[in-house]
């Protein structure tokens, strides 16, 4: 598929993959900022700001923003992670001009005081919603314990206290520093005219202010190695996470790490599946690899009847030690590759899937990868590469966190 790229004079980057057979197009504004770029005083500001972006501009009230998106039948939303805040819409190609008009406009929000106060409540509701979901809560806490003083341990949502204390002025200062033109990449994928997109972005974003971009504290995180239990008597099951280090997003070992995680903990046919789920010891068990700027990590998790926690933890430790020692088998490698091939192809059939893939690739690698290049990179993973991952990032170097009714969990 044709790939295109263009940088505006103010530093804003535009990239796109045009796909003539697509029925739709997707547009994303990737802002390279997230919870790791926050100080403790403004914890949660990136995510809160993501909400405020939808609350209006000098040209649009909050209701206008939602109405204008709905008028063109857009499927739109936004998300905030540790490192990125992404605003996106999937639309029918005939509405490209309107979609750019809305997205570009809202990325320069008014941040009005009265909207700020109403939205504060919504954020607090969102924090409350996650508090009632123990697995999510376990994940957030486990990350905090693992990363310790590393900025990737910052909470994305913040706390009720940090959100309550936040002022519009603090948010505005953060916005002015982080939403400068060179920190934004506009990503398009689907069936549309590239020159048309460039001129629309030029028209709407050409006047955005440039400014310095950057990120503090890019370094590896080996993990604290701690073992913590958080007792929550009202929770029914015990939710356990083990985190170990992994390669960074721009590492050549990334594909091998993904493949290893799939062989270890995919929801069907993986080591953890056979060790925990198939025999009925834990209702779910999962391993995944997350890559970040400067570091990465493997997350292994399971939920089970509290009484079985210690036994299951011993089983998981054995599985991790076994893979660390022996690696995975040729059969497991091929099985994982077959799954990845199918998932990459299927996700690429939607313009939204392609938009996210090329946006992330550009954000982390500074380059474009076609579907075929991505598939070839996975195909090139060998047992030797998996061994290299294991040698450099031992799966057994774990930080453990358990949340549930148990007061304590014995380490074996």
């Amino acid at each position: 598929m044709p790939f295109h790229t263009h940088r505006l004079a103010n530093g804003l980057q535009i990239i796109a993959e045009t796909i003539p057979s697509a029925r739709s197009m997707s547009l994303g504004f990737f802002v390279r900022t997230g919870s790791r770029d926050e100080t403790a005083e403004v914890s949660g500001v990136s995510h809160f700001l993501e909400h405020m972006v939808f609350k209006g501009t000098p040209r649009r009230s909050a209701l206008d923003v939602n109405r204008d998106f709905d008028r063109i039948g857009a499927h739109y939303n936004a998300f905030t992670s540790e490192e990125n805040t992404v605003f996106y819409a999937a639309i029918l190609p005939e509405y490209m001009a309107q979609a750019v008009d809305i997205l570009a406009d809202i990325l320069r929000p008014s941040l009005r005081g009265e909207d700020f106060d109403v939205e504060k409540n919504v954020i607090i509701e969102e924090i409350g919603m996650y508090e009632d979901q123990p697995m999510w809560s376990a994940y957030d806490n486990a990350k905090r314990v693992y990363f310790a003083d590393h900025p990737l341990g910052n909470s994305i949502l913040g706390t009720v206290a940090s959100i309550k204390a936040l002022t519009p002025e603090q948010m505005r200062a953060y916005f002015e520093r982080r939403y400068v033109a060179p920190n934004v990449t506009v990503v398009g994928a689907g069936n549309f005219d590239w020159d048309g997109l460039v001129s629309l972005i030029e028209k709407h974003c050409g006047g955005w202010i440039a400014g310095p971009v950057g990120r503090q504290g890019i370094r590896e995180a080996p993990g604290s190695g701690r073992f913590e239990v958080m007792a929550k008597p009202k929770v029914t099951q015990e939710h356990v996470l083990l985190i170990s280090p992994g390669p960074a997003a721009d590492s050549p070992l990334r594909h091998a790490a993904d493949t290893l995680a799939l062989a270890l903990g995919d929801d069907s046919g993986s080591r953890l599946y056979w060790a925990l789920v198939d025999p009925g010891f834990a209702e779910s068990a999962d391993a995944s690899f997350h890559d970040y700027e400067g570091t990465g990590s493997f997350y292994t998790s399971f939920s089970c009847d509290p009484e079985q926690t210690e036994e299951n933890l011993a089983i998981v430790s054995d599985v991790l030690a076994g893979v660390q020692e022996e690696g995975i088998t040729d059969e497991e490698l091929n099985q994982a590759k077959s799954k990845i091939l199918s998932r990459v192809v299927r996700s690429s059939e939607r313009s939204m899937g392609r938009m996210q893939a090329i946006g992330m690739s550009w954000t982390y690698l500074g380059k474009y990868r076609s579907v075929d290049e991505e598939l070839a990179a996975f195909d090139a993973v060998t047992l030797g590469k998996v061994r290299e991952v294991l040698d450099r990032y031992p799966l057994t170097q774990t930080t453990t966190f358990a949340l549930g009714p148990l007061e304590k969990v014995a380490r074996k």
């Binding site: 057979s21 409350g128 025999p279 009925g280 077959s338 059939e349």
Partner: protein
């Protein structure tokens, strides 16, 4: 581009549906077997769920591991799930792997081992699944809502009961399989880059000689109460509301869909605007249409901190009842844009097309064309929707809440 949709019903009652999508490399398959949890006999509640797990643990000449490996090697992402009326087998992979996958699914559906030695593990998982619900308050409230709202056994949940799970043996599960798994009423749908003639021949070869007894029929009971509060020390109060709507075969169907979308079709829709955007009462609030063949409902959800729960419920109910007072042309235009764009975007997903083929066939006995749906959407008007709402106003609410304190739920 014209749609290429095919259909064939075999002599034994099994229906095959397919859509050829030349612009993709993948294919998705979908088996709907009329063996949902509403058919779970007393005292064996959860049996359909347990069967759906046990059934992939060995079939044909493969044991559990060999079967799993064979599907993984074909890159099949898959899921077996139990709904009220059907057990669904879903899978998707590259189109070139589809024929080999269908061979394996024929084994799973017709020749499962249902091994004795695996039953305890499967029961343990079913029990954890049931108990795990306590850590998912949103799910829990919606399950209770359906249970109270629909006449039994239509509101029954697949997770069943602890006693139901305990009562199961491999023999009981096998008997249930033999009684419920039958070609009559089974729908196989496939969408993606496929060849129809070859597909029809293969399904004929794999399932044409399948015979089994007639599927059982359901006898519906009476609903009893329409209010419940589940007491739990949570940060948020969960609110579920349900009320009757018209089924898909009803002439008012599209007006009903239009009405639900005015309430909850996008972020500018009524519920999101009034409950979240204007008042900041919650993070999540929504309404959706949910149907059986003969009856359908609008199902609403809101989750909010305990102090604001009463106001959230009152505002939400107010919006549901206020809808029949009038709808702006602008609102209908937005609903039309949203529905049409979803319709077109479906064409980028083999999974959603396979799912839609099967559900259209189940509900209507035919597959609706894009043009038919598009013209029905174009036909929506504010007057048409409000007339429908006056014939079928929002009333007869079932309301279930979960949280530390019960709410005032009089209508």
């Amino acid at each position: 581009m014209p749609q290429e949709v095919y259909q064939h019903t075999f002599d034994n009652g099994l229906t095959l549906l397919a859509e050829r999508m030349e612009h993709v490399r993948s294919a998705a398959l979908n088996f709907l077997v009329p063996a949902g949890c509403a058919y779970d006999p007393e005292p064996h509640r959860s049996i359909a769920s347990v069967l759906s797990d046990l059934i992939t643990r060995g079939a044909g000449n493969r044991d559990s591991r060999e079967l799993s490996l064979a599907l993984d090697n074909l890159g099949m992402d898959r899921d077996e799930s139990v709904g009220t009326l059907h057990t669904r087998f879903w899978g998707a992979t590259l189109a070139r792997n589809l024929p080999a996958a269908l061979d394996i699914y024929a084994d799973i559906i017709r020749r499962p081992h249902l091994p004795e030695e695996e039953i305890d593990a499967v029961k343990a998982l079913a029990l954890q699944d049931l108990q795990g619900l306590e850590d998912e308050p949103r799910h829990k409230v919606m399950i209770e809502l359906r249970r109270l709202h629909y006449p039994p056994p239509l509101g029954q949940d697949r997770r069943g009961t602890e006693e139901g799970i305990a009562s199961l043996t491999a023999d009981v599960v096998r008997k249930h399989y033999r009684r419920l798994f039958t070609p009559r009423g089974t729908i196989v749908s496939v969408a993606g880059n496929i060849e129809w003639a070859a597909l029809r021949d293969q399904i004929g070869r794999l399932f044409g000689d399948w015979t089994a007894p007639e599927p059982p029929t359901l006898t519906l009971g009476q609903t009893t109460t329409h209010r419940a509060h589940l007491e739990k020390e949570t940060t948020q109060t969960q609110i579920g509301i349900a009320y009757p709507s018209v089924p898909i075969t009803h002439p008012d169907y599209y007006a009903a869909i239009g009405a639900v979308n005015v309430l909850s079709g996008g972020m500018s829709a009524r519920l999101f605007t009034e409950v979240r955007e204007k008042r900041g009462l919650c993070y999540a609030v929504s309404a959706s249409y949910s149907g059986f063949k003969e009856r359908a409902s609008v199902i609403c959800y809101a989750g909010t901190t305990n102090e604001r729960a009463q106001e959230t419920l009152d505002v939400t109910l107010g919006e549901l009842m206020r809808l029949q007072d009038g709808i702006e042309p602008e609102e209908v235009e937005r609903v039309q844009a949203g529905l049409k764009s979803s319709l077109i975007m479906q064409e980028e997903s083999t999974s959603s097309r396979a799912g839609t083929l099967a559900s259209d066939w189940y509900y209507l006995g035919r597959v609706r064309s894009f043009d038919e749906i598009k013209s029905a959407i174009d036909g929506l008007t504010p007057g048409g929707i409000t007339e429908h709402l006056r014939r079928y106003p929002a009333k007869g609410f079932t309301i279930v809440t979960l949280g530390p304190k019960a709410l005032q739920t009089d209508e």
